[in-house]
């Protein structure tokens, strides 16, 4: 029998939701398991990194890597799988754009450490201990991965062949992606294995969107009882669908929550946040400068809203609030 293609599912800085999404393939996962040899999947099976280290370069057909890179361990694992794999798929919003943990990039490592180990009200740390990559305990040296200055998307650390965004990616796109690899029917390298258009394009609520959207007042979803079938923007609720890639299956919209942007920007757009800001400005129906300020000033954490999943890959990734 010909050897089956080897597939690895690795996680870096990840919550486990992406692995759960693979499990959510249900019986399809059995087909995948039949057609491939899953050689690494820490969430589901017991394999060790040294098994991977002992493999030849390029021996793994496909590595599905989820999670962002924040420390030296993440980087080491990412580089290991890149070396041993023919194809690397950045899986999920964190691997593709840095994801929600990427919002930490609004703060420096120093800020984060000071809060977590010193200033947070629940912290008791009289000796002022901070985690160190190396420390001496009873004459022995203990090591920890080094915490980096910021969060990185996977392609800022290693070369990535394909992208599948989402928080987490939906089962149909996962199945399509794996099938495409197995059958060798892949688009050009560097492609995102999801539709190219914006979410609004397939949104059921699109029919209720007026020809010219005009918001006079911005509301947050918890402040109102949102209509279950009217366009969120028409109701004055910020929805990222206008600047977000389609393909998620509208799991949020279906439960009456506006889009938060986990699929990242549409094809060809580099900076998701800037694009959303331009779109939002266009639909704000305010005449005078005072009126404009009144509406915009109500917005809480606009930057967090617009860059919720994509801060580490934003155009301003090298610019940092250091205060």
């Amino acid at each position: 029998m010909a050897a089956k293609p080897k597939v690895a599912i690795a996680w870096l800085g990840s919550c486990g939701g992406c692995d759960e999404a693979v499990v959510d393939l249900n019986e399809v996962v059995l087909t995948v398991a039949d057609a491939t040899d899953i050689i690494f999947w820490p969430v589901a099976m017991d394999f060790k990194y040294h098994h991977i280290e002992s493999m030849g370069d390029g021996e793994i057909a496909l590595s599905i890597i989820n999670g962002h890179v924040r420390n030296s361990e993440h980087e080491e694992v990412a580089r290991l799988f890149r070396k041993k794999s023919q194809l690397v798929l950045a899986f999920g919003a964190c691997a593709c754009f840095g994801g929600t943990p990427g919002m930490a990039n609004f703060r420096s490592k120093e800020d984060i450490f000071n809060w977590v180990y010193r200033d947070a009200p629940t912290v008791v740390n009289p000796k002022g201990n901070y985690p160190q990559p190396k420390s001496q305990v009873n004459g022995k040296e203990l090591t920890l991965p080094e915490f980096y200055e910021r969060v990185y998307a996977l392609n800022q650390i290693i070369d990535v062949d394909y992208y599948l965004p989402g928080c987490p990616p939906p089962p149909d796109l996962i199945a399509n992606a794996v099938t495409a690899v197995l059958e060798g029917k892949l688009p050009p390298r560097g492609s995102t294995l999801a539709p190219h258009k914006a979410l609004c394009d397939s949104c059921k609520r699109n029919a209720t969107k007026p020809t010219r959207l005009a918001i006079k007042d911005i509301k947050r979803i918890h402040e109102v009882e949102a209509s279950p079938d009217t366009c969120f923007l028409a109701q004055g609720i910020l929805c990222m669908g206008i600047a977000t890639r389609d393909g998620c299956g509208q799991s949020c919209i279906n439960i009456n929550m506006p889009c938060r942007g986990c699929f990242g920007p549409v094809e060809g757009v580099e900076d998701a946040g800037a694009k959303f800001i331009s779109a939002l400005a266009a639909i704000l129906d305010v005449e005078t400068e005072e009126e404009m300020k009144q509406v915009v000033d109500q917005l809480v954490d606009l930057a967090g809203y617009t860059y919720r999943f994509s801060l580490p890959v934003s155009m301003l990734k090298d610019i940092r609030n250091t205060r």
Binding site: R150, K275, I277, A282, E287, M292, A303, M315, I319
Partner: protein, 136 residues
């Protein structure tokens, strides 16, 4: 900090700014000047991109209120810039680094003055803080 000369990128609408002037002569006085047709054409992306490429401030000169050749491009720009100021603050880019002026100067002689004035206030803020390159 005293020898810090801020880089200011200026987008100005041709319908109100410097249309009577010799563009080349004016351009020789103004660094990083981008004459455009309608300030409403300035996307948030263009401002963000200016900062990405090393700008310390971005100045947009649009037509006076009610005088946009395309009805309300200048007001669109003003909304966009205000939203952008709010967003950029989270990056540590102070609102004063992005400014929009809705006025008119066909000769364009005041454009360098506006830029000088903005440079002065940015000088006090210092350069935009940037971090070292990634580990890669």
């Amino acid at each position: 900090m005293s020898d810090f000369e801020p880089k200011v990128v200026c987008f100005s609408c041709k319908f109100s700014w410097g249309y009577l002037a010799d563009e080349d002569a004016l351009a020789s006085q103004i660094k990083n000047w981008v004459p455009i047709i309608c300030s409403g054409k300035v996307d948030a992306k263009h401002v963000v991109e200016a900062f990405k490429h090393g700008a310390d401030g971005v100045l947009i000169l649009g037509c006076p209120e009610g005088d946009c050749h395309y009805q309300d491009g200048n007001l669109e720009a003003r909304k966009r810039i205000y939203l952008l100021q709010k967003t950029l603050q989270s990056y540590g880019i102070e609102p004063a680094r992005v400014s929009i002026q809705l006025s008119r100067d066909p000769e364009g002689t005041t454009i360098p003055d506006y830029i000088r004035k903005m440079s002065e206030s940015i000088k006090k803020l210092g350069p935009v803080r940037r971090t070292a390159s990634p580990v890669k």
